[in-house]
């Protein structure tokens, strides 16, 4: 998870998924699909801000 390509890919997907979630919310409201996307987004964020650098897990909330 340390190489820059992996980080770039994670950031790219995060952005894409966030837009997709917003679009679904604006048309169909908060659905299971959105819940899964948001879950995946948070998992990606944890990688970007938590596991890749040395801050404590509890900071992300």
């Amino acid at each position: 998870m340390n190489n820059s390509k992996a980080v770039n890919n994670l950031k790219k997907s995060l952005d894409k998924l966030e837009k997709a979630a917003q679009q679904i919310v604006s048309t169909r409201g908060y659905t299971k699909e959105v819940e899964n996307i948001r879950m995946l987004n948070e998992m990606i964020r944890e990688q970007l801000i938590n596991e890749n650098i040395n801050c404590s897990t509890r900071k992300i909330r």
Binding site: R38, M39, I60
Partner: protein
Amino acid sequence: MKILIVQLARFGDIFQTWPVISALKRTYPYAEIDVLVRERFSEAMNENLHVSKTIKLSTAEILSSIIINNDEESCLKRISALCSELKNQDYDSIINLSFSPFSSYLVSAISQPKSTVLGYTRFSDGYLCIPDDVSAYFYAQIGIGKANRVHLTQVFAGVAQIDLVDEDWNCQNLGTENLETLAEFNLPLKKFIILQVGASQEEKTYGIDKWSQVINHFKKLSNIALVLVGSSDEKDLGEKIQQSTNGANIINLIGKTNLSQLSQIVRGSCLVVSGDSLLLHVASLTQTPTLCVSLAAVNFWETGPLAPESRIIYGETRDDIASDRVAKEILCMTEETMSGNPILYRTSYGPVAFEFVNYKFEDFSWHLIEAIYMQKPFPTICDADLAHGMLRLNELAQLAIQQLDEISFEKKMDIQVELLSQVDTMLEIIPRLVPALAPLVSWFQTERLRIGPNSLEQVLSLTKSKFFDLKIITDLYIPNSNDSGVVHADTNILT
């Protein structure tokens, strides 16, 4: 009864969850208790006999297709499969001890209508849902730089709605699987001290130079062996220390032990010396006295050592803690005497586990927390900025209540809406200007956050009631306000 504990933090938090698992098993002896942990830290559950199943969350596996070729669809399928698998377990109770956004979505996705959910989850509209008061306490008051003094293990127990008793900390099986470990490393039972010089974060550690100085002081005081432990990527730290501490009785095991062996070594030692680290939490479970050298990067109140007789030496920075003082404290702990220096002493397994010894320390913010959450008296104010900040909060609460009263859905309400928005802005500014008031504002904002999806009228009414609560508290500090007889702040300051 099936219980799932979601603990997605690291080694330290997983070990701090052990007493909660013991307490759950003691309370519900026939319950099936599963624990969801990250694969990377799952080893910390290996020796827990109360757990029926350790479920491992592999982040790397779930995210692999994004990392390789930005294939989000495959990741979503894996997330969906994970949720279905967990949901199909049909848990009666899900206890989320992770306090992270990811865990809140996960818990929301895997809970059944009949499940009791404790800890963070999500409302039906996707907003963060904090169903229990202890999780709300965590959200508002816990973390680095905050005034909380409640130990994290007690917070976990509070979320699980369970009372801990002393025996829950005594995890007798931890560190007993490899009885040959002490012999393997030639360690004499209860006649050596363990020293962990590294930690997961550089800012948590006392530093190699400082530890070397400690050892050089200690070798003049005692010949008890110091056993260095740590992970394999800390091997160079051990070598550096050995080079700079000639003549010291050191056994360097850095990088030579696995977690199970480490637990056994901790159990076999007479004392553990460490910063905020995994070792400290293992020592709490094996009841090994610990000296923790704690810096500002950690809130020792939350994660300090809980084994009886443990002590903490605290300094904002490394330079605030003299190395000879640490060496002397180590010696005193091996001799079971007091050094006379300022320390924090572990006094109980209760919510606040430590007491100041030879310190004079007043903390308005902590007393404010005690008053808000623990029915203690509200602290008096002896600071002009605090009095001023409290007055402004009271005015904001009154202004917000007035605006909320005036809001009607039949006509335009631009002024009221704008004023309420300004109140929100001021509520962010005040704790920055008067940090001692942060616990009060944080409590208030968290209570507002807990208002769930509802009709607009209901949301307005609930919001108003929260502002009333804020007003009631701040009224206590306003001269001549209509209070319930609680002792006032120093009114002279306000005039």
